[in-house]
Amino acid sequence: MGYYPKTLERLVLELGKLPGIGEKSAQRLAFHIINLSDEEISSLSEALISAKAKIVLCQKCFTITDKEICDICENPKRDQETICVVQNSRDIFAIEKTREYNGLYHVLHGAISPLDGIGPQDIKARELLLRIGESDIKEVIMATNATVEGEATAMYLGNLISPLGVKVTRLAKGIPIGADLEYTDEITLIKAFEGRNEI
């Protein structure tokens, strides 16, 4: 990359470190950025710096927020008796897009993984149990990923929460919308049969 000015080369290098950005995309973005007006550049750099400086974890649910308590936890119109447990904050945004769920959340920031040495003490499991103990929660929905680690985490937490007299549920598994039955794997089909509904 010796044919670029040093400052541009550095910008390409930094942009190329972002996930999903290869060298070509980094170059495109860099050329776009140097062509922005001074106000646009200031706004972009200010947004980057303030996002990094102000984003913290909500003290109740541990999602990312720019306040002490996030908007969802603070909203009295949300169902205060239901907690949906997710692995990371991005899962909350996915569920919120559905507009189907109106309860609270709890972000674990990972899943139990023996092979990676991630145990219950490395995720926000203890915080979840404390939260359930301190408030009047009636149902905990386990919305961890349908991977080996996600399933084991849900089962492990479920076993700890159930004795507290709280209903523990797990998101249903089944055939994705628009998928052909013949291409669906056996495990998903078994789970779809197990979770079938009356119509």
């Binding site: 996930p19 999903g20 139990i112 023996p114 092979l115 990676d116 040495g117 991630i118 145990g119 219950p120 003490q121 499991a125 203890r126 149990l129 991977t147 080996v148 399933e151 084991a152 089962m155 492990y156 994705p176 628009g178 998928a179 291409y183 794997d185 056996e186 495990i187 998903t188």
Partner: protein, 252 residues
């Protein structure tokens, strides 16, 4: 390059790029290999279930110098019930970790793969009296297969078969009370029942051992001993075993 078709067990997975995974697969015909599974973190990927950890699948892949590229895969067995019990999952993960640590890439061992599949089958199906026995038997058979079979009949120093009370990691087997002073390094105390169990791990098939009843405290001691011994022999310690030990007191 010609496609390769083989059955194998996914023993490790790492996320790669946005939607891909790098899988370490222990295959029947090609040994331990690494493959890139493209797009398998997408919701609609047809390879989703067959490329998860613990999945025993039939893989079709393009071989490469370092990484193969998965072209097709069909799930044969997912050992799904392992996900429902964290202790079982931790123990099963330890077995995968052992396979990963014990073998080099492209090193083959279809017999040990078959043994591991049997152990996972019994473990996930709840068919053993004590899962720790399955783990101990696998540890012993694996280390023996790798060429480090421990001496369990006579004292490794004086060759006497009386008053055997210790297992010496550095001496690769049992030693008698009289030779205790002559050895350095880590020693494990053995009672006659533990010694008999270690010997049976060598002699008896898994099918027979799964019905063996033993106290969990004693079985854990044997597992600890064998894990230490394997680590000494292959020069690598298992992260998953350390996890299992911390899990016995999870939130403490």
């Amino acid at each position: 390059m010609a496609l390769i078709k083989t059955k194998g067990l996914v023993i490790k997975e790492q996320p790669y790029k946005e939607q891909d995974k790098i899988l370490t697969i222990f295959t029947e015909d090609e040994g331990k290999i690494q493959c890139i599974a493209r797009g398998v973190r997408r919701q609609k990927s047809g390879l989703l279930a067959s490329t998860q950890i613990f999945a025993y699948s039939e893989f079709v892949y393009y071989p490469g110098k370092n990484f193969g590229i998965i072209n097709q895969s069909n799930l044969i067995e997912a050992f799904y019930p392992l996900r429902n019990d964290l202790t079982k999952m931790a123990l099963a993960s330890y077995l995968l970790d052992l396979m990963y640590n014990a073998y080099e890439f492209f090193q083959k061992s279809p017999e040990i793969l078959k043994l591991l599949l049997h152990v996972l089958f019994y473990m996930s199906g709840g068919k053993a009296k004590n899962d720790l026995i399955l783990v101990g038997a696998f540890q012993m058979k694996l280390v023996s297969y790798l060429g480090y079979r421990p001496g369990l009949e006579r004292c490794m120093i004086c060759q006497d078969d009386q008053e055997i009370s210790l297992f010496s990691i550095e001496n690769n087997g049992i030693i008698c009370s009289g030779c205790r002073e002559q050895t350095e390094g880590y020693l494990y105390k053995l009672n006659p029942a533990m010694l008999e169990l270690l010997q049976d791990f060598l002699r008896q098939p898994i099918k027979q051992l799964k019905d063996r009843e033993v106290s969990s405290a004693e079985a854990i001691k044997i597992n600890d001993l064998l894990d230490h011994y394997i680590g000494y022999c292959i020069g690598k310690s298992s992260k998953a075993y350390a996890f299992y030990k911390t899990m016995l007191n999870p939130l403490g």
